[in-house]
């Protein structure tokens, strides 16, 4: 165990004396320092330039080395090392936050000389390595104090995730939330309440008729409906796929995935063309039944409709693993106890799916709250928080304080939903994969449930087919909705490849297409890794402050992308962490915005694994890392697949957070598409969307091949209905 600390100490000294402390203008990973004329390591800066404030990590490193060598009592040694590492971390961060290039300073008299007054650049490779080394020394030493349960791997993981969430979620989000308390000059706690409790946010006028309700009430109603609707639809699909003999299962499976791989605005646009006042279906129905065409689509129902289409796949992805995981023998047990198929489903299968249902609902709820694309296109006069927040930031009257107040209202809703969900799931055990092998058959559905599943899922599937055929159709016609003559023009403009001089990608979309794919491919595995690790910690490990930890991982997901985007600029445009304009900031924003899905899916899947499996592995001599790798991971196949798929796709299709963070070098497909839609160039936007959909579909199929399904029983059998 002591070896790990030595390794991290060495890393610390390398970071301090060999690698450049600051970020260079060429970016985080520039290689210039290898050969540069002016060394930029912290050691050199102190010796040559008198920048004594960088000494924190060195002191901590030397102190810990002494402790490790001299103190005999292991517990005391560990405690002192924890202290040293903590002090090193704090010193390093404080100097980074104090010695800045502009803005208010404290302790001015202490930091003199030009280097201090000029301020410093952002943390670079050296600073990063030093901070990480100190963090891991801290966690490793903590393990040895005997106070912490769990081994070094677990503690280090907790430490790392807390640090990451603190830096990339709390730190930026605080920048904007604090605005809610801002008044003329300074901050006031009391100014916040009247703004927060205004009737434009929480008003209930719609119940008594007349005017519309407050935006928070609207959002709450929409989110509850969407959460319930998507969970129900997702469950129907999962049941059809696992518990029936439905013929076109493969097709259904693809259909359930397509909507999440659809860029924003496309579903809204397609719905307008179908159900809008001038839409195809509206026209048909109006002519057929001789009723007048209405604008019913614009308002609550349109948004609800679009959100159901968009978010059902997420519920499905969470639920499919859970539904598969329900142990056949429990269902068989119920049947042998005289319950019929309906009773079995109601009393056994459904309650066992509770964590899955709760997580699916929570995701749908939060997605609906944070969604701003659909309400923007279809909302009409139905105001919701997310659009109001967006326009409080970018609208003609920019009011960041109001945006912050609205964001807090939105967070209040999320937090309440989160707490309710926890209460509902409760502390019961939902383990159905126990390590006692199961060879039974899953109960097939009772006729009633089956009919219900078919009735909800199949029309929805049909609608999805129609919507997506329309999109493909739209990309091949001159002007969707008006001029339906066939053309390749949109594809050529976006994706032309010039073969005359070798391969040259001359289409206008290629740049953003390649950037998008690269960034998403980097972000997806990171997201899945962090999300599932967090889920593992939450389900399997005991530590202080677990609930707060869990909620904090949901935070970035629950806040609308616009707010995240702006807060990221506020936080990461300045040293000590300067990331704007790089591709790193895009990757980070994707990772931390999408990790909650990995967390939710992971929690749902992991609550089904009996903890004796982990314990068996550890008593057989495997450490937590090996246990995770060889026992938990293989049993989590569907959850991993879901997390990977989802984060990859979300990185490609998300727009609101990205709008502020894209730069000329790193432009993303969605911001390109939205720009075109704003200009009314629907053809090229739709063609680009179609290409993205196909690309993502291919990627997902590849992932599915690669990860495959887990092997729980030799075959997943379903009883033949008798």
């Amino acid at each position: 165990m002591k070896r790990t600390i030595v390794i991290w100490l060495i890393a610390l000294f390398i970071g301090f004396a060999v690698l450049p402390w600051h970020m260079t203008n060429d970016g985080f990973l520039s290689s210039e320092w290898l050969v540069g004329a002016t060394p930029t390591t912290a050691l050199w800066l102190i010796v040559q330039d008198g920048q004594w404030w960088l000494i924190g990590p060195l002191l901590a490193g030397l102190y810990i080395s002494c402790i490790q060598l001299s103190v005999k009592n292991p517990v005391r040694r560990a405690k002192l090392s924890v202290l040293g590492a903590a002090i090193g971390l704090v010193l390093t961060m404080i100097q980074g936050l104090i010695i800045v290039r502009s803005g208010p300073r404290i302790l001015n008299s202490l930091f003199e000389g030009t280097a201090a007054i000029d301020g410093q650049l952002g943390f670079g490779l050296g600073a990063g390595l030093c901070l990480i080394s100190l963090l891991f020394i801290l966690t490793n030493a903590l393990t040895q104090t005997g106070k912490a349960q769990g081994d070094a791997f677990v503690i280090s993981m907790i430490g790392l995730i807390i640090a990451l969430v603190a830096v990339f979620v709390f730190y930026p989000v605080l920048h904007i939330l604090i605005r809610a308390f801002q008044v003329e000059d300074g901050y006031s706690f009391y100014g916040f309440f009247p703004r927060f409790f205004s009737s434009s946010i929480w008003g209930l006028q719609c119940l008594t008729g007349g005017r519309s309700c407050g935006t928070a009430i609207n959002s709450l109603f929409l989110a509850t409906m969407t959460g319930a609707g998507t969970t129900l639809l997702g469950l129907s699909f999962a049941l059809i796929l696992t518990r029936t003999q439905f013929r076109a299962k493969k097709l259904l499976r693809v259909l359930t995935i397509i909507p999440i791989i659809t860029p924003p605005f496309v579903i809204g646009l397609a719905l307008i063309l179908l159900f809008g006042r001038n839409g195809t279906i509206t026209a048909f129905v109006a002519d057929f039944f001789d009723i007048s065409r209405t604008r019913w689509l614009y308002g609550f129902w349109g948004v609800y409709f679009a959100q159901l289409l968009s978010f059902t796949p997420i519920a499905f992805l969470v639920l499919i693993g859970v539904v598969q995981g329900v142990s056949p023998s429990m269902e068989e047990a119920s049947q042998t106890l005289g319950a019929d198929r309906w009773e079995t489903f109601r009393q056994v299968s459904l309650p066992l799916m509770r964590p899955g249902l709760a997580n699916a609902f929570l995701l749908g709820f939060i997605e609906s709250l944070a969604d701003f694309g659909n309400p923007l296109v279809l909302g009409g006069n139905y105001g919701v928080l997310s659009t109001d927040i967006y326009f409080a930031i970018v609208g003609s009257v920019a009011d960041p304080a109001n945006a912050a107040v609205l964001s807090i209202a939105l967070l209040t809703l999320t937090l309440s939903a989160f707490l309710l969900q926890r209460k509902w799931v409760g502390k019961k055990s939902y383990a159905t994969i126990t390590g006692k092998a199961d060879s039974g058959q899953n109960a097939s559905l009772s006729p009633g449930v089956k009919a219900l599943c078919y009735l909800t899922a199949l029309p929805w599937a049909a609608l999805t087919v129609v919507v997506y055929s329309m999109i493909v159709f739209g990309s091949f016609v001159k002007l969707w909705g008006y001029n339906h003559s066939f053309t390749f023009e949109h594809y050529l403009r976006a994706f032309r490849i010039d073969f005359s001089n070798g391969w040259r990608f001359t289409g206008v979309a290629w740049d953003s297409f390649f950037t998008t794919l690269t960034i998403s491919s980097i972000a997806a595995p990171l997201t899945a890794l962090i999300g599932l690790s967090t889920a593992y910690l939450l389900v399997r490990q005991k530590f202080v402050g677990k609930e707060a930890f869990e909620f904090s991982t949901m935070l970035s997901f629950a806040i609308p992308g616009t707010v995240i985007g702006v807060s990221y600029i506020m936080a990461f445009n300045f040293p000590p962490i300067e990331l704007t304009g790089t591709s790193i900031i895009l990757i980070i924003v994707f990772v931390f915005r999408n990790m909650p899905v990995g967390v939710r899916g992971g929690i749902a899947a992991m609550s089904q694994l009996d903890s004796s499996l982990d314990e068996a592995s550890t008593t057989l001599g495997a450490n937590s890392f090996t246990t995770v790798r060889r026992v938990i991971m293989p049993l989590m196949g569907p959850a991993i697949l879901a997390a990977l798929t989802y984060s990859f796709v979300r990185a490609i299709t998300s727009v609101s957070a990205v709008i502020f963070l894209v730069s000329a070098r790193h432009n993303m497909a969605t911001s390109f598409i939205v720009g075109r839609v704003e200009n009314g160039e629907f053809g090229i936007a739709i063609a680009y969307s179609a290409v993205l959909i196909v690309t993502m579909l291919i990627a997902i199929l590849l992932l599915q091949l690669l990860i495959g399904t887990r092997r729980l029983r030799r075959t997943d059998r379903v009883q033949q209905p008798s």
Partner: protein, 341 residues
């Protein structure tokens, strides 16, 4: 000098060469994508040493971004987009004087420069107008509108779409135009009457015209150049210059305070104001009226000479005080009197 130093120096230059040898100029473009690209290509052709890094963002998003970045900006120039956010940025000290000559510019463009102490300069103008879907109106036997006042007529019940001035700069321009045309009290009375016919106050300024183009609504209020563009792609959208006269927006051009490549930014401003460059806008299907008096105007562009343009008072109606007052009044008197449930 020993061998190692020579070699490392050689490698050093090599590494640097792969990095940034050309000057970089970071541009945010708030006009149409194609126009943006055209400008970048043209600028790079004339200045081969400069690499223009352009990204397109709407003017509201840009303002939010440069506000957040203030103190350590990553952008040099902000080109295009409606003038109000440019003026706000100037007021907040987020942009700096460009020092470009405004001699050749038309009056409204010089006016922008004067109001902002040279921090922003007008590059194009677009007049506000009424658009209607000819198929829809014909089908429903509705006489097309010719004046603002027509929109209060009951024949347009449920057919008009317009943006919400709280979120949309376009709609605020409309509100300010009404106030300047009819006087404040009368303006709000008219707006409230038109409101009886409005089916939805959209949040985005360009949405009503797009909805009218697709027949989702019969009539829209918006910028005429957006409508021209929609009509030119094939939608049955007809454009009306209201008989009472109308207001307009002026597209702005500003250099960000603290720009890293100030020289390049100044070069861009001079370039963007040149007559020959402004004349090229129609190549990118952009039909705004150029600010340089010597630039050619595309035949499709709304002919500002034939439109009764009011003398839009950007100084008054661009100020935050007036804005806040008018919007409060709009909320109270026009707002969403009876929104759908």
């Amino acid at each position: 000098m020993n061998k190692t130093t020579v070699i490392s120096a050689a490698i050093f230059t090599a590494v640097c060469a792969t990095g940034a040898q050309a000057d970089e100029l970071n541009v945010i473009c708030s006009a149409e994508q194609e126009w943006c690209e055209l400008m970048v290509a043209a600028f790079e052709a004339e200045n081969p040493d400069t690499e223009v890094l352009m990204v397109r963002k709407s003017s509201g998003e840009t303002l939010a971004q440069i506000r957040a970045e203030a103190g350590n900006p990553k952008i040099d120039v902000w080109w295009g987009g409606t003038g109000d956010p440019h003026l706000i940025a100037a007021e907040e000290g987020l942009t700096q004087e460009s020092g470009a000559s405004t001699d050749e510019l038309l009056g409204w463009a010089r006016n922008m420069s004067d109001i902002s102490n040279g921090r922003t300069v007008g590059i194009y103008a677009g007049a506000l107008g009424i658009g209607y879907n000819s198929e829809i109106l014909e089908e429903r036997n509705i006489e097309p509108p010719a004046c603002w006042i027509d929109l209060t007529d009951a024949r347009f019940a449920g057919e008009i779409q317009v943006a919400n001035p709280n979120s949309s700069g376009t709609a605020y321009t409309e509100l300010a135009t009404f106030v300047q045309l009819f006087g404040e009290d009368e303006a709000f009375r008219l707006l409230a009457e038109i409101g009886e016919n409005v089916n939805s106050y959209t949040r985005s300024g360009s949405a009503p015209s797009k909805a009218a183009a697709r027949g989702e609504t019969g009539v829209s209020i918006g910028f005429m150049h957006d409508m021209v563009k929609l009509a030119s792609t094939g939608f049955p959208l007809e454009i009306v210059a209201p008989c009472e006269g109308t207001g307009y927006e002026v597209g702005g051009l500003s250099i960000i305070e603290g720009a890293r490549n100030l020289e390049g930014a100044q070069a861009w401003v001079e370039f963007a104001l040149r007559a020959d460059i402004q004349s090229r806008a129609p190549e990118a299907d952009s039909f705004q009226v150029p600010s340089n008096s010597n630039a050619e105007v595309a035949p499709e562009s709304p002919d500002l000479a034939s439109i009764k343009l009011i003398d839009y008072d950007f100084a008054t109606y661009g100020s935050s005080d007036t804005r806040a007052r008018l919007l409060t009044r709009w909320d109270a008197e026009v707002g969403d009197p009876n929104p759908e449930q």
